[in-house]
């Protein structure tokens, strides 16, 4: 990796004037254009082409950001939101330069928790680790839903990008958990969206309870990768924390039965979540960085967590699950169901990092590079995709890392092949990109819709998307950001 050149954003204003204005808004201590400060914002974990920002700013409040948006829109200077840098798809790489708004440093407060209606209002910089600790310390009867991600990842970014969580079977995507947003739109207006829309200045903190029944404008900001405005507050739903838990694991002798198992078991409505990984991922977790799969080994394993208000409820849910597994076994499905704690104690307790989320999962962060094809998928295509993508990994000489879920009682699926690699090894990024490209073609052809997408991926999608959608998308983008200053380049804008 090398430092890329700074982009020219000074067509309408000179560099010194930009700096003076930023210092005026944020204070000198919260503005930098030093190359050494800018460099960490020029890349992410993936093979996305690095690109240097021209400035970074560290905001403390929305008033500063209102001024920033007005200024940048006037002089057509790109703004790229940034939280903690756990990004994929190059989504915070400033491909056209501009100003990085780093929310992670100061706009990271948990502003309010409503116990009764179970939601929290957060600033964009709140991390999963911080949020979990806060809830465990102050509201131990409540929980959030945590993704397969480290404690340092941002909660609001995950929700705005429709990330995953460990209550996915119950609640679906994190985008569905958003109750309300406060956003700064292109002309510097502050809009509150959702039931928090009453109130001229500030909303009553106990009124961020729903996104309905008014027109649902939250969709203008969810999955737009920062292309339509700057989110400054986000209300997310919390859930009661069940006191009784049981975690089961399904071991599969082959790859072809995993998809059906997840659909059948997912629609029982007894699990909090169901996610499966290649056996290689388990080995990576217990310190085998380049694992092989040997004949006779389980090919994949699925994590099936159950919880309940009473032990009897947990036992009843477990009975339903076990009966279904028995039925599948009698039909010839090569699957075994065991208590994951029994399994982890003998194999290695690090396996529990899949349950104790958010966690530092060795298989994700062992190497300097990580890239993926994270996608939503019709769950029936998992049957075909798992062996196909597994074979593509083998063809490229890279250990398979497939992570998948079924969502919201099996209404849809998630299919996520992940690739770890050494960013600093000559030729490695090209090798990894060739693999990812082939996986992308295969999965998009099968009907998968990637999220947290790099531009080259959205370019492939655009060829398949109906023209009416693309026209509407472009019209909305133009309306929300006529000068193209909000995270330009995303989705080939």
């Amino acid at each position: 990796m090398t430092i890329s050149e700074n982009k020219n954003i000074y067509k309408n204003i000179n560099r010194n004037d930009v700096k003076a204005e930023l210092v005026e808004i944020f204070g000198a201590a919260n503005v930098s254009d030093k190359q050494s400060d800018l460099y960490p914002y020029s890349y992410d974990m993936t093979e996305a082409e690095p690109s240097m920002p021209n400035f970074i700013v560290i905001p403390e409040n929305k008033e500063q950001l209102v001024e920033l948006v007005k200024f940048c829109n006037k002089y057509i200077i790109p703004i790229v939101p940034y939280i903690t840098g756990n990004n994929v798809g190059g989504i915070t790489v400033p491909v056209k330069g501009g100003i990085i708004v780093d929310f992670g440093k100061k706009m990271n407060k948990i502003l309010h928790v409503n116990e009764n209606m179970m939601y929290a209002i957060l600033e964009p910089g709140v991390t999963f680790g911080q949020f979990k600790k806060y809830l465990d310390d102050n509201y131990p009867h409540l929980r959030y839903s945590y993704p397969f991600a480290p404690p340092s990842a941002g909660v609001v970014g995950n929700a705005l990008l429709s990330g995953m969580n460990n209550l996915s079977e119950k609640i679906g995507s994190m985008g569905d958990s958003i109750n309300g947003l406060e956003v700064i739109t292109i002309d510097g207006d502050v809009a509150r969206i959702g039931s928090c829309f009453y109130g001229k200045e500030e909303a009553d903190p106990d009124h961020w309870y729903s996104r309905y029944p008014m027109p649902d404008l939250i969709g203008l900001f969810v999955n737009w990768q920062g292309m339509t405005g700057l989110v400054t507050k986000c209300a997310v739903q919390l859930w009661p924390k069940d006191p009784f838990e049981k975690n089961m694991v399904a071991l599969f002798e082959d790859l072809s039965s995993v998809g059906r198992f997840m659909r059948e078991v997912g629609s029982l409505e007894v699990l909090n979540d169901i996610s499966a990984v290649s056996i290689e991922v388990i080995k990576m977790t217990i310190e085998l960085p380049e694992p092989k799969r040997f004949p006779g080994e389980p090919a994949m394993i699925a994590n099936c967590p159950i919880s309940g208000k009473t032990q009897k409820l947990v036992d009843a849910k477990l009975e339903i699950l076990q009966n279904k597994v028995k039925e599948l076994q009698e039909e010839g499905m090569p699957v075994i169901l065991e208590d994951i704690d029994d399994f982890a104690k003998l194999l290695n307790l690090r396996v529990r990092s899949f349950l104790d989320l958010p966690a530092v999962i060795l298989s994700l962060f062992e190497y300097s590079g990580l890239t993926w094809f994270g996608s939503y998928a019709p769950s029936h295509i998992h049957d075909e995709l798992i062996p196909k993508v597994d074979a593509i990994f083998h063809k490229h000489g890279i250990p398979p890392f497939i992570y998948m879920k079924n969502m919201k009682s099996n209404h849809y699926g998630i299919f996520r092949p992940i690739i770890r690699y050494n960013k600093y090894k000559e030729g490695e990024e090209e090798k990894v990109h060739a693999l990812l490209n082939e996986i992308t073609d295969t999965c998009i052809d099968a009907g998968c819709i990637p999220y947290k997408t790099p531009e080259w991926m959205t370019e492939k999608m655009r060829k398949k998307i109906n023209p009416g959608w693309l026209k509407l998308f472009d019209k909305v983008k133009k309306m929300m950001d006529p000068n193209g200053i909000f995270n330009p380049g995303r989705w080939n804008t």
Partner: protein, 142 residues
Amino acid sequence: MLEIPQPEDILGLAIKNMLDYRKYDEKFNTYVSNWSKKKQKKIVVNVIPFYAVTILFDGSRVIITRGETKKALKVTLHVHSMLEMANGRLGLIKATLTRKLKVKGIYRIGTILKFTKIFFTTMKMVAAEPNINYYELHKHTR
């Protein structure tokens, strides 16, 4: 102290995890070195429905490899029975009497008892107190 090279298969890794738990335990080291003096140094553990691994006791080294070896004591059990035994829900005698645990090969009852101390007792110890510092290592980030 025992030396146990890292295998690459999942069952071998589980057995290494178990044996590692007691590698500083003098009593356990004695069991293993006594076992190594025997003619029959190899034990095959066949875990149904997956596969078999061979454990070779060679002085202070314990080598775990995939697959079966002839002229070895062979222990066959289902993965479920293995987990039940480790967690104290199925005893050795009951497992043997109900054929959930099968032992084959040239052996004497004394051999079985010694292997029990090496393998099954260790398995139970690991399951009862599985401290490999996972929680300690992660207490600030979990």
